[in-house]
Symmetry: C2
Subunit: 238 residues, 2 copies
């Protein structure tokens, strides 16, 4: 599994990742093998977005990728390998879509808010056909087989640690109250994302984006440091 | 399907339900048939709590209920019938556990808070072995077959309407600000419940109850009417 540690780009307020190891598919595979593997994962990602990771089978992926089951198995001997790799590319896509932007606001609370703005509804902007495969995997965590469960829990941990890092930066910059409960705020914000996932995907609420943004703003307003020094420091960044 | 409309008991601030029709299993069935049916539904409810409604099969229910598959099918000819009936008894159990108490606080905001206190973590108190079958069904709504999806959506609607009714009562009693966005607040509170469901069940966060209660209190504090008249009206009920 690829191991990621988020860190802040101090120059831009952006987020980048330290990646723990090289991806195995870059080594010892032919170009055509890599193309096929990429096609399998792209099809798998679309299926995970449309139907949820739990419902993916070798057959469903093979059919959509115009391959035989054996063709899929040659790249992913176990279904768990395939599902873990799908989670991996989903996290990569999330990271590029949601964190790969220069917020242009110099970190702190404006960066946190900007990232949450981009995060809510990111799957549409990334061109996925349905809901967020990672959120659905987190929701179904208890029902996933062992190694896939670990991968989904690791993705959740990346999300939580990213939020915690952004919250801590906002506290350090005195944009949020110094006694802000970091773990609680990360729980609340991740909760809003999961609620938005259920609301927009399961319940088809056309107003889900607006409601989630409202909830984020309400929480932030309740713990925002409003003294003049903090306002000056942020230089009207919000 | 049993059709429910929540209404407030003005005397106690409690909630009760108008039930639209008689349950079919009370008519034209022998006592032993009713006992077997009840056993099937109890086993099914436990399985839905432990594994999710999506994963229930005739075989899994029959095995746990010490019946043949045919014995289950005799009561529920289609798997969809069984799953809808399981949702029905889950909603009944929720209603009895969470709404069947006299809050003793005369309605309004104290009642809303009291109900939310009881709601969060209700499945443990009701003796279910795992998570909330209704929350899991709502999360997996898109993946349920037609008639079961309708039943899960109806249960979600009962929850949402119950919250809206309690919120409106708190606004009428001037415990909450008059310009409170009722739909938004219901979205936020239901979202906290769903986040708690994921947090406690999928992520096994031992602190999920406390975090959810904190979130509820923060939202309520932000829209609580704090004028003296309202405080007097509530008579220190909180």
């Amino acid at each position: 599994m690829v191991y990621r540690v988020p860190y802040l780009l101090e120059s831009s307020g952006g987020v980048a990742y330290l990646v723990g190891n090289e991806k195995s598919f870059c080594r010892g595979r032919s170009v055509s093998g890599q193309v096929t593997r990429t096609r399998i994962l792209r099809v798998g990602l679309d299926l995970a977005s449309a139907e949820g990771l739990c419902r993916i089978t070798f057959g469903s992926v093979a059919g959509r990728a115009s391959l035989s089951k054996g063709g899929v198995v040659a790249h992913f001997p176990h279904l768990g390998d395939l599902k873990r790799s799908i989670l991996d590319v989903a996290l990569d896509l999330w990271s590029r879509t949601c964190l790969g932007v220069d917020t242009g606001v110099g970190g702190g609370l404006p960066s946190l808010i900007r990232y949450l703005d981009v995060w809510i509804g990111w799957t549409r902007r990334a061109g996925l056909p349905g809901s967020c495969p990672i959120a659905q995997a987190i929701v179904e965590l208890s029902f996933l087989p062992g190694s896939v469960r670990e991968a989904a829990a690791a993705a959740e941990s990346v999300w939580r640690q990213t939020l915690i890092m952004l919250i801590r930066d906002a506290i350090d910059k005195r944009h949020l109250l110094q006694d802000t409960d970091v773990a609680q705020l990360a729980w609340d914000l991740l909760g809003i994302y999961l609620s938005h996932h259920v609301s927009s995907h399961s319940l088809r609420d056309p107003d889900a984006d607006r409601k989630a943004q409202f909830s984020v703003n309400r929480i932030v307003a309740s713990i925002e440091a409003t003294n003049e020094g903090a306002a000056h420091q942020r230089q009207g960044g919000r």
